[in-house]
C-alpha cells in the first residue's frame, strides 16, 4: 500500500490529528537513544497515537490485512532500536495514552494505560502511601508500557527485582486484532494466580513482537519510611565484590549497590569537580531502605562490614548528603563524555549482566578490551546484581573510531556470554543484540521463534527485533 493510501486508511480509524504522515513528522520517529540509530535512519511510513483499545485492534486488523509492520513505541528512550521501524511500517506512539485508571488500595494494585510515565505513576501512588518499586534511570520519561515490554529495572533491583515481578495482568491486542486479558479475565484482582500458562510473563519483556499492550495491572508496595546511604572507597577493584558478598552473608539486603571504577570516578571529577570523589580503584554506594530503626541498624552493620575491606566508609541519612552521594552515581552516564573534549558517550554494549562472582574479572577484561580496540570506556553499574554499564566514549565524527567501537561492543557482548552472563540485563535486545540470540539461548532461541510464529504468523509485530536475523548477521 502506498503511503498516501495508508494515511487515508489510518484516518478512518484515528482522528486526523493522531495520524502523522508528513516526511518531517515521520522522521522524528526515526530515532531512539541507541548508537545504531545515529547511523541509520529508520523512518516509518506512518505514526499513529492511539487512545483506545478499539483503535489498536482496528489498526492491527488493517496491518494484518495488508501485512504492514507495526512497531509499538513508548517514550523512545531505549538503547536498542526496539521502537524503530527497521523494516518500515507504522509506529504506534503509545506515550500520549497516559491515564492512571484506578488505584485499588485495598487490593494493592494499580491499573494504567501504557503511556503513563514512571515517575508520574509513583508521584500519584505516593498519595496513597504506595509505590511501584522498579526504578529505571529513565524514570522521568520512560513509560510503564515500555517498562513492561522491556522488563525494565534499575538501581533498586537488588532488593525489589524487575518489572515482571509486579505485573499481575495485561490487556493485549494480538497481531490479528483480537483483544485478550492475561492474568485472569472478568476483572480479576487476585495477587496470586497459577492457573494456566503464564501469558503475562510471556508478554513482559517481549519487546512488542507478540502484540500491543494496552492496559497494565501492576502490583504496588507500601512506601518505605526511611532511607540511608553508605559510600565506600576501595584501593583494589577485587575488594569491592568481596565486600558486597560479606554484606549479603551478614543477612542484609540493601535496596541498591552501585559501583564506579577508576574511569567513572575520573569522569565524574572532571564533570563536577565539586563532587570531589577520592581517587580509587573502585567506589561502592550502598542504599538501604525500610523502617527508620532498621535502616539505622543496617547502615551501621554495612559500615562495619565494608570497613574491613575499604579504605574509608561514610554513612549518611541526611537527605542533602544522600543527594550528594547519589549525584555522583547519577551524573556518571553523562559525565562519561568528559573523558575527552571531543567525546560523545555512546549507548552500545552498555548493559551486560554477569554472575556476581565474576564482576571484578569482567571489569578487568573490559579494560583490556578497551586498550585492545583503543576506545576509552567508563564502567559503572549495579554491582549488587551483576549488571554492568559500560560507556564507550568516542568521537562520532571519526568513522575509524566508530568502527573500532563496534568491534569493541561485539567483544563486550561475547565476553558477557563467555562469563556465564547475558548480553543485556535491563535494556533489551531490539535490533542491536539479536545476532547473539542463538549464542546466548541455544535451542531455546528457536522455541522462542516458534512461539512468535504461532502468535504472529504474518510477522507484522515489530519485525527485525529480538530473533536472530535470517541468513546470519544482518543489522536489521
Amino acid at each position: 500500500m502506498d503511503r498516501q493510501k495508508l494515511g487515508a486508511e489510518l484516518k478512518r480509524i484515528f482522528p486526523p490529528e493522531r495520524v502523522l504522515t508528513s516526511e518531517l513528522e515521520r522522521r522524528m520517529y526515526s530515532y531512539d537513544s541507541s548508537f545504531m540509530a545515529r547511523f541509520h535512519s529508520f523512518v516509518p511510513d506512518a505514526v499513529v497515537l492511539p487512545q483506545s483499545t478499539q483503535e489498536v485492534s482496528a489498526l492491527l486488523k488493517l496491518a494484518s490485512q495488508h501485512r504492514i509492520p507495526v512497531i509499538p513505541r513508548g517514550a523512545g528512550s531505549g538503547e536498542t532500536c526496539g521502537c524503530l521501524a527497521v523494516r518500515g511500517g507504522i509506529v504506534v506512539d503509545l506515550s500520549a495514552w497516559d491515564t492512571i485508571e484506578e488505584v485499588d488500595v485495598a487490593n494493592m494494585q494499580v491499573f494504567a494505560r501504557p503511556g503513563v510515565v514512571h515517575y508520574k505513576l509513583n508521584e500519584h501512588l505516593a498519595g496513597f502511601g504506595l509505590f511501584f518499586p522498579p526504578d529505571p534511570g529513565s524514570t522521568r520519561m520512560c513509560t510503564v508500557g515500555g517498562m513492561v515490554a522491556n522488563n525494565s529495572s534499575g538501581l533498586r533491583a537488588v532488593k525489589y527485582g524487575t518489572t515482571e515481578q509486579y505485573v499481575l495482568g495485561l490487556e493485549a491486542v494480538l497481531p490479528d486484532g483480537q483483544v485478550i486479558q492475561t492474568g485472569g479475565a472478568n476483572d480479576c484482582r487476585a495477587l496470586k494466580n497459577v492457573s494456566g500458562l503464564n501469558l503475562t510473563k510471556l508478554f513482559v519483556g517481549s519487546e512488542g513482537v507478540l502484540g500491543i499492550i494496552t492496559r497494565i495491572r501492576l502490583r504496588v508496595w507500601p512506601r518505605p519510611q526511611a532511607r540511608g546511604m553508605a559510600m565506600a572507597v576501595f584501593s583494589e577493584l577485587e575488594l569491592a565484590p568481596a565486600a558486597v558478598l560479606d554484606v549479603y552473608q551478614s543477612g542484609i539486603l540493601p535496596s541498591g549497590i552501585e559501583i564506579l571504577d577508576t574511569s567513572a570516578i575520573q569522569a565524574i571529577n572532571m564533570y563536577k569537580p565539586e563532587i570531589n570523589l577520592p581517587s580509587a580503584e573502585a567506589i561502592l554506594i550502598f542504599e538501604v531502605d525500610g523502617n527508620p530503626a532498621g535502616v539505622a541498624w543496617e547502615g551501621q552493620q554495612i559500615a562495619e562490614i565494608v570497613g574491613r575491606h575499604a579504605v574509608s566508609v561514610e554513612w549518611a541519612t541526611d537527605p542533602a548528603r544522600m543527594a550528594d552521594l547519589w549525584r555522583g552515581r547519577s551524573v556518571v552516564a553523562v559525565a562519561a563524555a568528559r573523558l575527552r573534549p571531543d567525546g560523545s558517550r555512546i549507548f552500545a554494549g552498555e548493559d551486560i549482566s554477569v554472575p556476581l562472582s565474576r564482576v571484578a574479572e569482567t571489569l578487568r577484561r573490559i579494560k583490556e578490551l578497551s586498550r585492545k580496540h583503543d576506545v576509552a570506556v567508563v564502567n559503572y553499574g549495579h554491582i549488587g546484581d551483576g549488571n554492568i554499564h559500560t560507556a564507550p566514549v568516542i568521537n562520532l565524527d571519526s568513522s575509524a573510531e566508530v568502527q573500532r567501537a563496534n568491534a569493541l561492543v561485539d567483544d563486550i557482548h561475547r565476553l558477557a556470554i563467555a562469563m556465564g552472563g547475558s548480553t543485556t540485563g535491563e535494556h533489551g535486545v531490539g535490533a542491536v543484540r539479536n545476532q547473539y540470540a542463538v549464542d546466548e539461548h541455544g535451542e531455546a532461541a528457536l522455541v522462542m521463534k516458534q512461539l512468535k510464529e504461532t502468535l504472529d504468523p504474518l510477522n507484522i509485530m515489530n519485525p527485525g527485533k529480538l530473533f536472530p536475523p535470517e541468513g546470519g548477521k544482518d543489522r536489521a
Binding site: L24, R27, V47, G76, A96, V334, A337
Partner: protein, 403 residues
C-alpha cells in the same frame, strides 16, 4: 555574535536522545508527540546543518514550536544548550528562506524605536476603531492578537523623565533599561520601577536613545540584528557612566547579561538590587495583607538562575506569601509564541491558571511583562478576579506614600 549552527556542532552531536527533555518541555506536554520534543528540535537542527533536510515552511513550523523557556537546557543531563541550538537553527532558516513579513517586523520595525512607537500607535488606533475585534472575529487575525489587550494611551517613555533624581541622598546612579513590553504595554510598571528605585536612593537614568534588547530578534533568527542592538545599547550605557543597569523585564535582563557587548557593564536583576537596597536602608514597609503567590518567569529562574531574591522580597512585604504548585513552570507566553501557536500556548497556560487557583492567592506577582500579560489573559478567560502585578508594584504599595 551568537554561535551559528556550525559553531554549535559539538553541542548537538553530544545529544544521545535520551528523552529526559520530554519530562520538562511545556510544549511537549501540551502537544504530546515526538515532533514537539526538544531532542526532536536538536535532531532537526542537526539535519538542517548537514543539509539532509531543506529549509521549508514545515521545518520552520516545527522549530517555531519552542518557547525558548530553557526548561530542557536546564534539565539536559548532557548540558546541551537546546535554546541556543533552536535559535541558531532559526537563524539558519532565516538565512536560507527568509519570511518577508517577519523580516520587516523584527528587523526593520522592532529594531528602531520610532518605527516601533508608530506601529504601537497604529495598533492602538486599530483597537479604538474595533478593527482588531473585527479581524479576530472574522479569523483574519490570529487569536493571539487579543493577548495584549487595549494598549495604554501613552507609552512609559512619553511620560517618565529621562532622569529621575533620588528621593533623598543619592546612593547609586542606575541606568534603567526600559524594555519594549513594559514601555508599550505596562507603563504603570515602569512608573513603579522608577518610583521605587528613587525612593530607595537611586538616581534613575532612562537614556532616550535605547533600543530593543535584541531578544525578539535572536528568537526569530535575526541574530546579527540582535548583536547590532546590543552593541548600540551598550555604547549608550558606557557613555552614561552609570554604576549599574537594571530592568523590570526578566527577558531584557537576561538578554543584556548574556550579550558579550555588555561585558564590563554591571547588569543587576531588579529584585536582587531592590532586596539589597531594602536590607541596607531598611525603610518602613506596610504589609500587603491579601494572599500573594509568585510565578517564576523562565528568563529569570532558568536563564538567570534567580529564584530566591524575588521570594525573599515578597516575604518582606507580604503577610501571607504562599507558593503555588509548579511556580517555575512556563506560563506559555514565550514572547511571540502565542501569536503562532495560540492553542498550545493556552493549554500550557491552563495548567498555570489551575495552580494559581489552587493556591487561593488573590494576587500573583511576577517579574516579566509578557508573563503578566499572559497570566492576566488566562485568569480573565477563566473568569477569575485575581490580580496579576509586577513585584515592584507591590513593593511600591508597601513603601506607601512618600512623606
Amino acid at each position: 555574535m551568537p554561535e551559528d549552527l556550525e559553531g554549535l556542532k559539538e553541542q548537538y552531536l553530544r545529544c544521545v536522545r535520551c528523552g529526559q527533555c520530554r519530562s520538562v518541555c511545556p510544549v511537549f506536554e501540551a502537544v504530546k508527540n515526538e515532533t514537539a520534543t526538544p531532542r526532536g528540535k536538536v535532531f532537526l537542527a542537526h539535519l538542517l546543518a548537514t543539509g539532509e533536510i531543506k529549509a521549508n515552511t514545515q521545518v520552520q513550523a516545527q522549530l517555531s514550536r519552542c518557547l525558548l523557556c530553557r526548561s530542557c537546557s536546564k534539565e539536559c543531563p548532557s548540558a546541551i544548550p537546546v535554546h541556543q541550538i533552536v535559535s541558531a537553527a532559526r537563524a539558519e532558516l532565516v538565512c536560507r528562506a527568509p519570511s518577508p513579513v517577519k523580516r520587516m517586523v523584527f528587523r526593520h520595525i522592532w529594531t528602531r524605536p520610532r518605527r516601533l512607537a508608530l506601529a504601537a500607535g497604529l495598533t492602538r488606533q486599530i483597537q479604538i476603531l474595533g478593527l482588531d475585534r473585527l479581524g479576530l472575529s472574522l479569523g483574519l487575525l490570529p487569536p493571539g492578537f487579543a493577548l495584549p489587550g487595549r494598549l495604554p494611551r501613552r507609552a512609559a517613555r512619553a511620560t517618565i523623565p529621562a532622569i529621575t533624581p533620588a528621593a533623598g541622598k543619592t546612593r547609586l546612579r542606575v541606568g534603567y533599561f526600559l524594555g519594549c513590553s513594559t514601555n508599550f504595554l505596562f507603563p504603570g510598571v515602569a512608573e513603579s520601577t522608577v518610583a521605587v528605585l528613587s525612593r530607595l536612593g537611586c538616581e534613575v537614568v532612562i537614556p532616550p536613545e535605547l533600543k530593543c534588547c535584541g531578544l525578539p530578534q535572536l528568537a526569530s533568527g535575526e541574530a546579527d540584528a540582535a548583536v547590532n542592538l546590543a552593541s548600540a545599547n551598550s555604547e549608550v550605557f558606557r557613555r552614561l557612566n552609570v554604576e549599574a543597569v537594571v530592568s523590570d523585564c526578566a527577558s531584557c535582563t537576561a538578554a543584556l547579561k548574556e550579550s558579550p557587548e555588555f561585558a564590563g557593564i554591571k547588569v543587576i536583576e531588579l529584585s536582587e538590587l531592590l532586596l539589597e537596597l531594602l536590607k541596607e536602608y531598611n525603610p518602613g514597609l506596610q504589609q500587603i495583607t491579601k494572599p500573594v503567590t509568585y510565578h517564576d518567569p523562565c528568563h529569570l529562574s532558568k536563564a538567570q538562575g534567580i529564584t530566591a531574591a524575588p521570594r525573599e522580597l515578597l516575604r518582606l512585604i507580604c503577610r501571607d506569601f504562599r507558593e503555588m504548585d509548579g511556580a517555575s513552570d512556563c506560563c506559555g507566553s514565550g514572547g511571540t509564541f502565542a501569536l503562532y501557536h495560540y492553542q498550545t500556548s493556552m493549554a500550557i497556560l491552563d495548567k498555570k491558571i489551575a495552580a494559581i487557583k489552587k493556591s487561593e492567592a488573590e494576587i500573583v506577582a511576577t517579574s516579566c511583562p509578557t508573563c503578566i500579560m499572559q497570566i492576566r489573559h488566562g485568569l480573565t478567560g477563566h473568569g477569575c478576579e485575581i490580580d496579576v502585578v509586577h513585584t515592584v508594584e507591590l513593593l511600591e504599595r508597601a513603601l506607601g506614600r512618600e512623606t
